[in-house]
């Protein structure tokens, strides 16, 4: 058995043990997070990785310690010379593993951590959305159930079954809406006897009813009664024929008059909508109203070139001061970041804090969900809004429905705006358009706070201090995380080379296999290696944080870099100095 085979055998064993522990840990995570079925495989696939790579260097160090301390003897390596050149294949493999380790900490690891966080969040959202949908459905609140089910779909992705379920719910919601509208209409109408209820009526009775209907302006009913009376009469009834003619004239006259009235009303509505659009320059509410007016006019006259032109223009302008709720809901299917809190100070007179449950950067724009604004000045203003969108350098937190139902008589049904929890709207547009100080990239870096620094890759960590500063967060721990991450990358090589050096220097002096009692003590080696490396890591992390908090970050970075370089040089030199001597 060559020395290389022995090393790789031990390494494989160590990695398999670590893998088993990682999978076991992943199992517990899966139980704890309980990802929805659609995301379970994706979660499983990634959940074992963080622990595995966190302890990867320990597994490699343990393999090096066991191999170089126990399984290799000078006889295996040619009895003379320096150690390093004789174990070149092992060194190459270790360097390759160091690169994998570096790649993990610099790039891949943060992506995996981010994805795991997202799956956890989506599972939470999906679970509650599904439950809410079922509850609402049991109370026949189809519209709300439909919204919850759509949210569920945006979290777990679409599937034929789910699409079918949503379509079915859409139909039921539509039917329910129609029923509501009809009930409302019926409630306000004066009922007349229906024209076809003529069975058993005598001709004079029908003529009487025709006259009543004619006087009441119900010309079609009058015409019907008069026609049936004229037909059923056994002789030619002039009065019936006259009544029918009179009703017919009234109908034709009414149609003409209605057309004129409609034309005039259409022109007036168009003018009003246009004026509202003009007012929209200074009044965003008027612009939103104009948008709906042009929508309604478009339905009445789809081919009107003015309406088409102004509809497009007003929609474009509405998008500058608001956004559509359905777009925000659609954006929820894109991955985002959770829990962003930032200072948004833009005046010396007050300080402003903004928080959002989720921030999503989608192709349609950047959306915020569960927005809350707290402004402290002479008085405290505290408001919340379910949706927000970045428009230019503003945060817009008033969303509107794409269409206004004809039956809607409350603004709340088609405008989803801020709700004031404390204070009142001021003269300015607080709660509708808020100038954003940090940019979106910075908010994405800050989202989740210091606990989610592990989801930032090395480039993100380099950019993070400026973002944290702009968002009014404490910056020092970000520097510490950056240094610590670099330490984990360089530390792999320090650990491994030190392990080889120490293991070889204090190797077993037994000739052949050591006694069984000694072999039984070998498990202490992994324990001790793990304990020492974990201790050094924890202490280094804590010392770094303490130093960065109490001193200049730049100095700490330079000192830490210097320490790492010295440690690496010492480890390599120490390993290089090891001799093969029997």
């Amino acid at each position: 058995m060559t020395y290389r085979f022995r090393f790789f055998l031990v390494l494989t064993g160590a990695i398999l043990v670590l893998l088993a522990v990682s999978v076991y840990n992943a199992y517990h995570q899966v139980v704890q997070v309980s990802p929805v079925d659609q995301l379970r495989t994706a979660f499983w696939f990634r959940a074992w990785m963080p622990l595995f790579f966190d302890h990867f260097s320990i597994a490699v160090a343990v393999s090096a310690v066991v191999t170089f301390s126990l399984l290799l003897s000078p006889y295996d390596l040619g009895n003379t010379g320096r150690l390093m050149p004789s174990v070149r294949p092992i060194l190459l493999a270790l360097v390759a593993m160091g690169l994998v380790n570096g790649l993990w900490f610099a790039l891949v690891g943060p992506t995996v951590e981010l994805r795991l966080d997202q799956i956890e969040y989506r599972s939470r959202v999906a679970g509650s959305a599904r439950q809410r949908s079922e509850e609402l459905l049991s109370h026949d609140r189809y519209d709300e159930a439909l919204a919850a089910l759509r949210l569920y779909r945006s979290a777990v992705g679409s599937s034929p079954e789910l699409d079918e379920e949503i379509e079915e719910l859409q139909v039921r919601a539509g039917q329910e809406r129609r029923r509501t509208r009809e009930a409302a209409r019926r409630g306000g109408e004066t009922t007349f006897a229906r024209a076809f209820e003529v069975q058993g009526l005598s001709v004079p009775e029908m003529l009487r009813r025709a006259r009543v209907a004619l006087e009441a302006g119900s010309f079609y009913t009058a015409h019907y009664y008069a026609s049936v009376a004229a037909d059923q009469s056994e002789f030619r009834r002039e009065d019936a024929l006259e009544l029918r003619a009179e009703a017919l004239n009234a109908i034709e006259d009414g149609i003409r008059r209605r057309e004129e009235l409609e034309e005039r009303s259409f022109f007036q509505d168009k003018l009003q909508a246009y004026q509202l659009m003009q007012r929209g320059d200074t009044d965003s509410r008027a612009l939103v109203e104009a948008y709906y007016r042009f929508q309604e006019l478009g339905e009445r006259a789809p081919d009107d070139p003015d309406i088409r032109r102004y509809s497009q223009e007003v929609e474009q302008r509405v998008r500058e001061v608001s956004f559509f709720v359905d777009e925000a809901l659609d954006a929820q299917m894109f991955p985002g970041r959770q829990d962003v809190v930032f200072r948004n100070d833009r005046s010396g007179e007050f300080s402003e804090l903004i928080s959002a449950e989720q921030i999503i950067d989608s192709p349609q724009g950047t959306y915020l969900f569960g927005v809350e604004v707290l402004r402290r000045g002479d008085e405290i203003v505290h408001l919340s809004a379910p949706y927000g969108k970045r428009v230019g350098d503003m945060l817009v937190i008033r969303a509107i429905a794409r269409r206004r139902e004809a039956a809607s008589d409350s603004v709340d049904e088609y405008v989803v705006g801020p709700r004031y929890l404390r204070g009142t709207p001021g003269r300015d547009d607080l709660g509708e358009m808020i100038p954003l100080q940090p940019d979106v990239d910075q908010l994405m870096l800050v989202a989740g706070g210091l606990e989610t620094l592990n989801t930032l890759n090395l480039v993100g960590l380099v950019r993070a201090p400026a973002a944290y500063d702009a968002a009014g967060h404490i910056v020092a721990p970000v520097h510490a995380e950056l240094v610590y991450r670099i330490m984990r990358i360089v530390g792999f090589f320090v650990t491994v080379f030190s392990s080889i050096s120490i293991a070889w220097r204090y190797r077993s002096l037994y000739i052949g296999r050591p006694p069984i009692l000694v072999v039984l003590l070998v498990p202490l080696l992994p324990w001790a290696t793990w304990w020492v490396i974990s201790l050094v890591r924890s202490v280094a992390d804590s010392v770094l944080r303490a130093l960065v908090l109490h001193g200049a970050a730049a100095t700490t970075v330079v000192v830490a870099a210097g320490v790492m370089i010295v440690a690496l040089l010492l480890a390599i030199t120490s390993a290089a100095r090891q001799q093969i001597e029997p």
Partner: protein, 330 residues
């Protein structure tokens, strides 16, 4: 004698280095200066014991007459144990009295900055001593309407590292990175707790009645001296017995690891005793035994096992020969 003194100097140097390292780690991680004075005895003992490992290795490798040195080391260890027991205490986070490292051990909060954790975000406008206010808290835990809460005033309980808000629930600051002192890593925390537990148990035994016997039957002079002597003797023997694991095998690295593991096991005796009491394994055989007595009993058992092992391992000259060590004067 000259050799013995030289080796003893080495012991002292290693002990001082270890003690300084332990103190630095404790200070950086929140054991403040105010708590260090009563801890000094325990820290000195810990430094001495940890320093004993490399010093003993060197002695075993090069010492011409290690018995003299070993005797002196045992005496010093006994003295250290006595000092640690008499000065035991401290180790808690209390406000520092010295300004030298107070900012490091007390931790700081930058007013006007957001500290965001998994569950809460906190912004403190003003910090004056332990008084804070106004404090803005954003609660990320629940799906609630108003996540922001404004508290006009609050109190920073540094002992428990909590933000006490009179009109709201208290906030555990250990979850907020960067707020206050960094939390101690588990490895350090557990080891420090075990060391403190061992010294505390020793102190309990020191001042208690004679273990395992009816002390009323003993003369007064014996009653007042037997417990302290027994405790110091057992602890000293246990600690200096690290000598045996350090020359247990012909594998130096394993010897060091076994030595350190042995010392860790000694410090864990009170924790093991607590576990044994809980599962009622020992109390069935020895009803009425106290936890401290169980620790003493465990220590004696460990020492006896080690003494047996010491008889079984090769003699020192043979072991040295097997290890290819040569005797020298330095």
């Amino acid at each position: 004698m000259k050799d013995a003194l030289l080796h003893l100097t080495l012991y002292v140097l290693f002990a001082v280095a270890c003690a300084v390292a332990i103190l630095s780690v404790l200070v950086v991680m929140g054991a403040s200066l105010g708590a260090i004075v009563p801890m000094l005895g325990t820290v000195a003992l810990s430094g001495w014991v940890v320093g004993m490992v490399p010093a003993t290795l060197r002695l075993l490798r090069r010492g011409r007459r290690p018995v003299t040195t070993a005797t002196m080391v045992a005496c010093i260890t006994a003295g250290m144990v006595v000092v640690a027991i008499l000065t035991q205490g401290g180790g808690e986070r209390v406000p520092a009295e010295s300004r030298l490292l107070s900012s490091m051990s007390e931790g700081t909060v930058v007013p006007g900055r957001v500290y965001q954790g998994r569950e809460y975000s906190v912004l403190v406008d003003r910090l004056s001593g332990n008084e804070v206010g106004p404090v803005i808290v954003a609660d990320h835990t629940e799906d609630i309407d108003a996540r922001f809460r404004v508290h006009p005033e609050g109190y920073w309980d540094r002992l428990h590292n909590e933000l006490v808000l009179p009109d709201g629930s208290d906030i555990n600051l250990n979850d907020l990175r960067g707020f206050g002192v960094p939390s101690m890593p588990a490895a350090v925390r557990n080891t420090a707790a075990d060391v403190r537990g061992l010294v505390e148990t020793a102190a309990v035994l020191w001042s208690s009645s004679v273990p395992f016997v009816e002390s009323g039957q003993l003369p007064l002079i014996l009653r007042s001296t037997i417990s302290p002597v027994l405790v110091v003797l057992v602890l000293t023997l246990l600690l200096t017995a690290v000598w045996t694991p350090l020359r247990l095998t012909r594998w130096p690295l394993l010897n060091v690891v076994v030595g350190l593991a042995y010392l860790r096991a000694v410090t864990a005796l009170p924790t093991i005793a607590v576990w044994l009491m809980r599962v009622e394994i020992v109390t069935r055989w020895m009803p009425g035994v106290t936890r401290a007595e169980l620790v003493l009993l465990g220590g004696i058992a460990m020492f006896l096992v080690l003494a047996l092992v010491a008889l079984l391992v090769p003699s020192l000259p043979n072991w040295r020969h097997n290890m290819h060590f040569r005797e020298s004067g330095s």
